[in-house]
Subunit: 197 residues, 2 copies
């Protein structure tokens, strides 16, 4: 029975969605530390009371924003199970770079602030762990501590290299792609992992 209540909920969900979509731009422009709930309400053209109805605090608003971004990113970099592991990884890294390219401002400004909020740190660490597990499975090295450390380190390498890329924009995306995959291969060799063909 889709009655008035369901319609109202949908309407409310949509408003919430819009606020989350707007948040990325707001936080990216003003930075997490500087942006106040008053300002968010003003810029979104709604009352503070209504804003607080959707998000009990700035922290909750920020978490909802980052969770939305992380979920979209996770979906886009999902490896294609029909491809061999190495090709699937290459495609995932390309999808990651495309996402960063499109969201460069938000990534550059929100990623460092993200660590300020423990729940968001856990979100980022969760994405890293899941990605690491998938790569380790792909190369058949789930029980190898050196491989695990290499892959974890490499996921940090990705973020460091991407932040450097966005800050300078003096590399082609394809060059960065090659650098990332080549570094993973180098890290795995250094970890003593023998890769199949």
């Amino acid at each position: 029975m889709v009655g008035r209540r369901a319609y109202a909920r949908l309407h409310s969900d949509e408003r919430r969605e819009q606020l989350v979509a707007r948040a990325t731009e707001l936080f990216a422009t003003h930075g997490y530390e500087e942006l106040s709930m008053s300002r968010i309400a003003r810029e979104a053209g709604i009352s503070k009371a209504l804003l607080y109805h959707y998000f009990p605090s700035k922290r909750d608003y920020f978490i909802a924003t980052l969770a939305g971004g992380a979920e979209e990113l996770r979906r886009r970099v999902e490896p294609d199970p029909g491809l061999p592991p190495a090709e699937a990884l290459g495609a995932s890294v390309e999808a990651y770079l495309a996402w960063i390219d499109e969201n460069a401002d938000a990534y550059q400004k929100l990623f460092p602030s993200a660590a300020a909020v423990p729940e968001v740190r856990e979100l980022v660490e969760g994405v890293r762990s899941a990605t690491a597990d998938r790569i380790l499975e792909g190369i058949g090295a789930t029980e190898n501590p050196r491989a695990r450390t290499a892959v974890q380190g490499w996921l940090w390498f990705m973020d460091g290299a991407c932040l450097d890329w966005i800050a300078h924009r003096d590399l082609e995306r394809s060059e960065l792609h090659g650098l990332l995959l080549g570094t993973l291969a180098g890290a795995l060799v250094a970890a003593g992992v023998t890769l199949g063909a």
Copy 2:
């Protein structure tokens, strides 16, 4: 003229030093977000008024703590100018790992919180930039954007790999050392940098 004033200042500086030394343990135990100035004062056995005399806010106290740690780390990893670049780098990485080994708890707990404070982020980024410049000079690649991105990414790799190492402790320090240097070599090869002998 070393009079009463100089003595009082020294005494005050020493007290401040002691508070900074104690802070690492306090922040590492309770976490930046949870620790209050009241608690710091209580645990340090001084009045809140005196604590505020030395540090206007928790943020200032935290910055002073991290700045102290960063300075000590910087001094210890300072490369030996008498060694060839590759050996000097190996020794610096070893000094870095030794420091992390000694300060594992603080590193593990403070490093993520550190990003919460913009001034501390700048400190970490400053250390990374200076280290990257030194490595790029050592390999004669200061003007090479791919090499710069590779080295910046690698410095992130170090932190990711070290955090993984501390969390699991299932690698020998020498294995991690080899993994780090091998990954840098792999990243530079992937960046198209030709290394000399």
